[in-house]
């Protein structure tokens, strides 16, 4: 059988897997599709009416979309960096973890790129940003750098994942000489995408709130706590519903590492807050707007303190061994991390950066329904991509979906020493209905 034919069988089989599932799976997919549809409808309004349907104005001209973009770049970066502790601690099911981290990275990158797309005023001209075809202002514009590194990171992850899954499907081990360098490359790339994204804000002398060199390290610290938070919940679900073997000690180790990352995040925030409040220059106004409100404008204050308390809670839950080994408090900590970092890095970064504006005016930004609907749609696309990818990756990793177990398997390519195919459908997804 030619490689091409085998690959098309892989693709067809994967699609088949995605189209099969228990009722819970279909309810989940239908919910996501409904959210996507609502998002598309809202986006159509936005394109025809203009960004005036959002709450963004000249004073605050980046908002909810760019905040989500920043957060998701962090998730994408952190998902792969989990590979490092996996290597360091010789974690056994490393291949599966690498794959799941990379699938999460792919989905997060898809979402972050969509968030940039929905934010621009002229989506019809986004091709100007395609290297080679468009007119990129490279290397001067950090935005051009961001487009390049995000796409590179995306391609590397897609290539690695496809290779590993396809090889597993064909019943062969993945090519170490091909995968290991790419996985190792994706680690500096992961740090790179988040650093470049931080520099996007960091480089602007006009915005003192962003013009702090602590920004990139703090981005990485918060990413390394929020990214694993999602993975931890996911690994528990996989362990519960599939035959995936994930040791409790491994989960506790990740939680412990998250405690350190969260501590670093809180520490860097504290260092920045100290500098602002102790020196109390006119640049303090931005920090004041976030934590205490300015001239009676207090829309953001509840969010600021919610984020701080959630992050503190998460830190305490993860640093105490008893609570990080208890699955209830562990998951509470994950949710707290996720929500805390989401607020702090989304709205908490963008809005005080732009309020008050360069002329000292205060425009209170709060996202409109259209923005929320579009954002929910983008998140739904990402979750859908992730769900479908997992639907294929999990059975492959468990050896339940392989070319030689498909009914029309070609004996010539089948590896030696096969066990007989399990009864029932060769592609059945046993207990993967999370």
């Amino acid at each position: 059988m030619t490689t091409l034919r085998q690959f098309s069988r892989f693709v067809a089989g994967s699609i088949g897997l995605m189209l099969r599932g228990p009722a819970v799976y279909w309810v989940w997919v239908a919910t996501l599709v409904a959210l996507v549809a609502s998002g598309v409808a809202a986006y159509v309004t936005q394109v025809s009416e203009g960004l005036i349907v959002t709450a963004m104005r000249d004073q605050v001209s980046w908002g909810f979309y760019i905040g989500n973009f920043t957060f998701l770049v962090g998730v994408a970066a952190a998902a792969v960096v989990l590979v490092i502790p996996a290597y360091v601690y010789h974690w056994k099911p490393i291949r599966e973890i690498v794959i799941i981290g990379e699938l999460l990275a792919i989905s997060a990158i898809v979402m972050s790129m969509l968030f940039v797309l929905v934010d621009v005023g002229r989506p019809d001209r986004v091709w100007h940003l395609i290297p080679g075809i468009g007119h990129m202002n490279f290397p001067r514009s950090l935005l051009a750098w961001d487009v390049l590194v995000l796409n590179l990171y995306f391609v590397v992850n897609v290539v690695v994942v496809t290779h590993i899954l396809y090889r597993a499907f064909s019943g062969r081990e993945y090519d170490k000489r091909f995968v290991v360098p790419l996985v190792l490359l994706s680690i500096p790339l992961a740090v790179g995408i988040h650093t470049v994204t931080a520099f996007l804000y960091n480089g602007l002398a006009a915005r003192p709130y962003w013009n702090a060199s602590i920004l990139a390290p703090q981005f990485l610290a918060s990413a390394f706590s929020s990214g694993p938070a999602i993975l931890l919940i996911l690994l528990q679900l996989l362990r519960r519903f599939t035959r995936f073997e994930i040791q409790q000690s491994a989960i506790a180790k990740i939680a412990e590492l998250m405690a350190y990352a969260m501590f670093l995040n809180l520490f860097l925030h504290g260092a920045e807050a100290f500098k602002e409040y102790y020196s109390a220059t006119e640049h303090l106004r931005f920090t004041q707007y976030w934590f205490e409100g300015l001239d009676g404008h207090r829309t953001m204050v509840p969010y600021a303190w919610t984020a701080v308390s959630l992050n503190l809670t998460a830190f305490l839950l993860f640093i105490v061994p008893t609570t990080r080994n208890n699955w209830i408090t562990l998951n509470l900590g994950c949710v707290a991390t996720y929500a805390g970092v989401y607020i702090e890095k989304g709205m908490g970064l963008i809005i005080p950066g732009l309020t008050p504006d360069t002329l000292g005016e205060i425009y209170e930004y709060y996202p409109t329904i259209t923005e929320v609907r579009v954002a929910a749609g983008v998140f739904a696309v990402g979750f859908l991509v992730f769900t479908l990818l997992l639907k294929v990756a999990v059975p492959i990793s468990l050896g339940e979906f392989q070319s030689d177990r498909m009914p029309e398997a070609d004996a010539a390519t089948a590896p030696r020493g096969l066990e007989p195919a399990p009864a029932g459908s060769a592609m059945s997804l046993r207990r993967t209905d999370h």
């Binding site: 005036i52 005023g121 940003l129």
Partner: protein, 197 residues
């Protein structure tokens, strides 16, 4: 350009003539006058600060533009190629002087009545979904006229000229009267100087 703060009487002539020249939509001011009151009675002070794009030599907006739509033109004028702008608004974040505006919709000055013939004609010259800004009235300048805000300044507070020529009026005013840039510490090297009160 040089703006003499001693001469400015805060009449908004520059702001209005700029609107007439470029036909910018509501809320967009390529030229604007910021009025500020200081102190408590009886020790009070009223100042006017006319603002526009400073056409910086090291413009932060040109630096961050991902497509090169923001660029330097002949004589150092900072302009936007409206066909290249993707509307990402990175330049708005980068400009320390609030000189850039996102052109979202062809908003009517008299809501409910539709666009006036004047608005229809002027709005046709501006693309929507992109960023817009002062271009030092480059069309007027290339045909030998002064920018609209300079030509219409009632108290001759604004002087337009070549800062690279040490003998020009603007260069001499900056030298003799101690012309100052706004926020020079940001390193953008603005090409608009203010003569102190």
């Amino acid at each position: 350009m040089v703006i003499d703060l001693k001469r400015c009487i805060g009449c908004y002539g520059c702001q209005l003539s700029c609107k007439a020249e470029h036909g910018t939509p509501p809320g967009v001011f390529f030229a604007r006058v910021v009025k500020r009151e200081f102190g408590t009675f009886p020790n009070t002070q009223l100042t006017f600060l006319p603002l526009l794009c400073f056409h910086c030599t090291d413009a932060a907006c040109v630096e961050v533009c991902p497509t090169g739509a923001s660029h330097y033109r002949q004589g150092g004028i900072v302009d936007i190629d409206a066909t290249m702008c993707v509307g990402c608004r990175a330049c708005i974040q980068a400009c320390p002087y609030g000189a850039r505006y996102y052109h979202d919709e062809q908003a009517a000055y008299f809501p409910g009545q539709g666009l006036t013939p004047y608005e229809q004609r002027k709005y046709a010259t501006h693309t929507t979904g992109v960023v817009m800004k002062c271009n030092f009235c480059i069309d007027r300048v290339t045909s030998g006229l002064e920018p609209a805000c300079v030509a219409n300044c009632a108290s001759r507070a604004r002087v337009f000229g070549d800062l690279d020529d040490p003998h020009s009026e603007v260069s001499q005013l900056v030298r003799l009267r101690g012309g100052e840039q706004l926020q020079p510490e940001l390193g953008t090297r603005p090409n608009v100087y203010y003569l102190p009160v």
